[in-house]
Amino acid sequence: MNIGIMDFLATSALLFAIGFFGILVRRNTLVVYMCLELMLNAVTIALVAFSRYNGTMDGNVFVFFIITVAAAEVAVGLAIIVALFRRRHTIQLPQLNLLKH
């Protein structure tokens, strides 16, 4: 067993970076939301790894709360996207520029 905490942290950092890149580069609001979920998951990996290697419980409980908040956030966010689509008939980010002009 040579896997240390650093390997898990590196995985977490990579996953966070991929999600961050996706948020910046994608134009579809739904896919941007999926990338947001990826970033949340990256944080949970880091927290569970810290918790495991320290032999404490706090990180695990924190992940529990993160999952709860993520579920609520996805429900509200998708409802907002549906409402947005009803009014603007698009969910592409470059066309949602009402505040810009």
């Binding site: 240390g4 970076a17 991929i18 890149f21 998951n41 993520a70 689509f85």
Partner: protein, 180 residues
Amino acid sequence: MVDFLFYIFATLTLGSAAMVVLSRNPVNAAMFLIVSMVGVASLFVLLSAFFLAVLQVLVYAGAVVVLFLFVVMLLDEEDKRRVSPGKLNSVASVVALVLLLLGAFSIVISPDLVVPGMAEPRTLGTTEAVGANPSEYGYHLFTTYMLPFQVAGFLLLVAMIGVILVSRKYRDDSEVPARS
């Protein structure tokens, strides 16, 4: 063996996460999101957080991605007006990605990184896997984390009310929600 499993699961997670970003079709992106979530859940199993792994599969693969797929089907945009990311934006994203990776790895590979409460580097064998026991979660949720637990409950209630309010029927192109 565990090392081998770790590399498999990490590759699975990261590869399908990359496919979420790269795939053109939102439905494919949601499917790869499921694979990525399952990969994260298996990493949790390697860290012997079995309860969190089950929760991850149930909540993310079971509820969140289904919700995503439902909304993708509901909106049915079919890329009528396909918008490609602007050149400047793509370059900026790649630069941001590289900067973020550099920053993260400079922290990860720095030798003087000290995790609080962790004097010497520990391995999985030396520490007790407290997260493997589901009753630990119950104990901590109802003692140390009682207040956040209550707040999370209210958060779910508020989110439910908010979703009902936001998704009420609107009149055609009118600002005000229709009175029921």
